[in-house]
Symmetry: C2
């Protein structure tokens, strides 16, 4: 904040709120924020009914948590962010004087245009500036405690994927498989309970397997079709996403060939996921490997992971792709996801990893082949 000349920062991304204070509740569908001053304690601002219990999860004492009144909810003519702006100035955590520069998260879900305008109107002489994922970037390198939580999440992910693979059988409805996945996700691992994922389990199947973000239906799985499964293990909001593909019956030659190429490509990419490397080098390693088999992948091959809230478990910072020159460091975590979405079919394989001094530690080390059930 000092480096970019910010006197205050208004944090609205629930993952950033959790990272900075521990605050954790499904209250983000209403306007709420943490205001971080350049000096002094941050303060929370949220709906009254949520403010009264914020101390169950946030470390902040009650007098640093402010609740706006209920009558501000869902009004076309007023917005809670106006109240928040005034209160933040009153309690001295925001400076609305001329020259004050206040950072806001302009690409965060849940910080709406109307909320932004209400905040700006309430801070007329201050200048709102784009904080450009400032807190998200701080989150990129995980502390030892965070790494431990990700290892637990990895164990959950691995166990859940095994449940998913076991349950993909001809005649079972997609929703039956997802019900088993969710059950396992929430039960957790090592007697530690699982948390809810930022994205529901996805299992595009048959001809829709080329459509990565389709959610389930109640149609049955059929012999002769492949299903791509993408899910996450979650512990204390830390996410380890994982993707695999299951073929019911002998796979078509083109799917088997693609799977083999990706299994080879993932080794090349993993070898590049080490301190000092870059997202660009990882992408190039994968592209060169699958390119030898005639495949081209246009989308990125992965992204930074850690804390997640709906709608996304990515950190919205580092992408593993051409042009990303961020230096990879120990403590970073990535979801290396190799999705090949073709016309009418698809293949997915992923590796969630933690970067250590020696290279990538696989967090959910399942076999890297296409699972074929005959």
């Amino acid at each position: 904040m000092a480096r970019t000349g910010l006197s205050g920062l208004v944090v609205t991304d629930p993952a950033n709120l959790y990272y900075l204070t521990g605050y954790n509740a499904w209250s983000f569908y209403m306007p709420q924020c943490l205001v971080v001053p350049l000096a002094g304690e941050p303060q929370l601002f949220m709906r009254e009914m949520d403010a009264q219990g914020a101390h169950y999860t946030a470390y902040l004492p009650a007098d640093l948590v402010h609740g706006y009144p209920e009558h501000l909810v869902h009004r076309p003519d007023r917005h809670p962010m106006s109240w928040i702006a005034r209160r933040a100035v009153d309690v001295g955590v925001l400076d609305d004087g001329p020259g004050a520069r206040i950072g806001v998260e302009t690409d965060a879900a849940f910080f709406t245009v109307r909320g932004y305008r209400a905040l700006q109107d309430g801070l007329a002489r201050a200048q709102l500036v784009d904080a450009l994922e400032l807190v998200n970037w701080v989150r990129a390198v995980k502390s030892p405690l965070e790494q431990e939580k990700m290892r637990v999440a990895g164990e959950i992910a691995q166990g859940v994927m095994q449940v998913a693979i076991d349950n993909v059988e001809p005649g079972r409805r997609q929703c039956d498989v997802v019900a088993q996945i969710q059950y396992a996700q929430t039960l957790g691992a090592r007697k530690l309970g699982g948390d809810y994922p930022a994205i529901v389990p996805m299992l595009p199947t048959g001809e829709t397997a080329g459509t990565p973000h389709l959610t389930w239906s109640d149609l049955p799985l059929r012999s002769g079709e492949a299903t791509t499964i993408e899910l996450a293990g979650v512990y204390h909001r830390y996410h380890v996403p994982l993707a695999r593909t299951v073929s019911l019956g002998r796979p078509p030659a083109e799917l088997a060939r693609c799977a083999d190429a990706v299994t080879e490509g993932v080794q090349a990419a993993l070898a590049q996921l080490r301190p000092g490397s870059t997202g660009q080098l990882v992408q190039e390693a994968f592209a060169a490997s699958v390119g030898r088999h005639g495949y081209v992948k246009r989308s990125r091959v992965g992204y930074s992971i850690g804390i997640g809230y709906p709608p996304d478990w990515g950190e919205r910072t580092i992408s593993l792709r051409r042009g990303d020159l961020t230096r990879i460091q120990p403590g970073m975590a990535f979801h290396l996801i190799l999705g090949m979405w073709m016309e009418g079919w698809g293949y997915e394989l992923s590796e969630p990893v933690l970067v250590g001094a020696e290279g990538a530690e696989r967090l959910a080390p399942l076999p890297q082949e296409l699972t074929v059930k005959t």
Copy 2:
């Protein structure tokens, strides 16, 4: 649109996209929208990998679905909405001439400030104006087909709540109960599969029961404590939320007294939920009833329901509260939620209803008392 002088409408709320086109996938974490012109077919704009499979759920033909290239994802220096603005003008679905007024959803969760600015920059001579939940308001009255979907969702909700009540037992971990809830939610009812809820199951318990939006932990439930359960049954994205409270052991006198007052108050509120009434009358009926027992509830007693996507299953239109004078009509649906969140304890009871010519049809008619397990 004609009445408010709009030549185009940019729809970003996933529930509105689904309502208008049937499009349904977990792709809303990336910028996407439906552009609705005053005359002619609407057109979809989304990430390339999602655009190629949009026709599996949206009724629109492939040439009315446009995919932006992958390299625009998560860049600090460019935004997919700039591409969308240009493409929408090129294909003639948006007018960027002077005097053009284009509606946008300024309080929708996934339409970010950066997205808004990129859209505005790409439509320099057009004026972006607040559409004020235009599509959400159209959704308020449900068609017979929508009502049938809500009845299915109601059956799911009722069955799931029974599972939840059965599973709340001393020594069971919160996550164990939630795992059972989610399993039942996704299995569905009547051989029809359940869909994912816009909000995860919430079960604040013990002293945290006064904190409505806390999610689960892996701590065990304990004798002598009460648990408030809020969940939804979902079918084809239509939500029927439901709340109940379970006491493990004899409830404290203050909880039992509150529950009795609310059981009486809910009858008064339900009687007012009929065509020609208003949210204000419903709130007043409840307030007068519980007021006779010395209770005051500051928050609204309900809201309009229907299609839902994370982070919220409310429609963000009608609230059942003082000042809301919207005329209640047949085909509207509400979640009448009577949450009493006190210091260190809480009580919740809700009734999801469909308004018919004769009055409120309860969608999940479970007993309206506090469940006591001894």
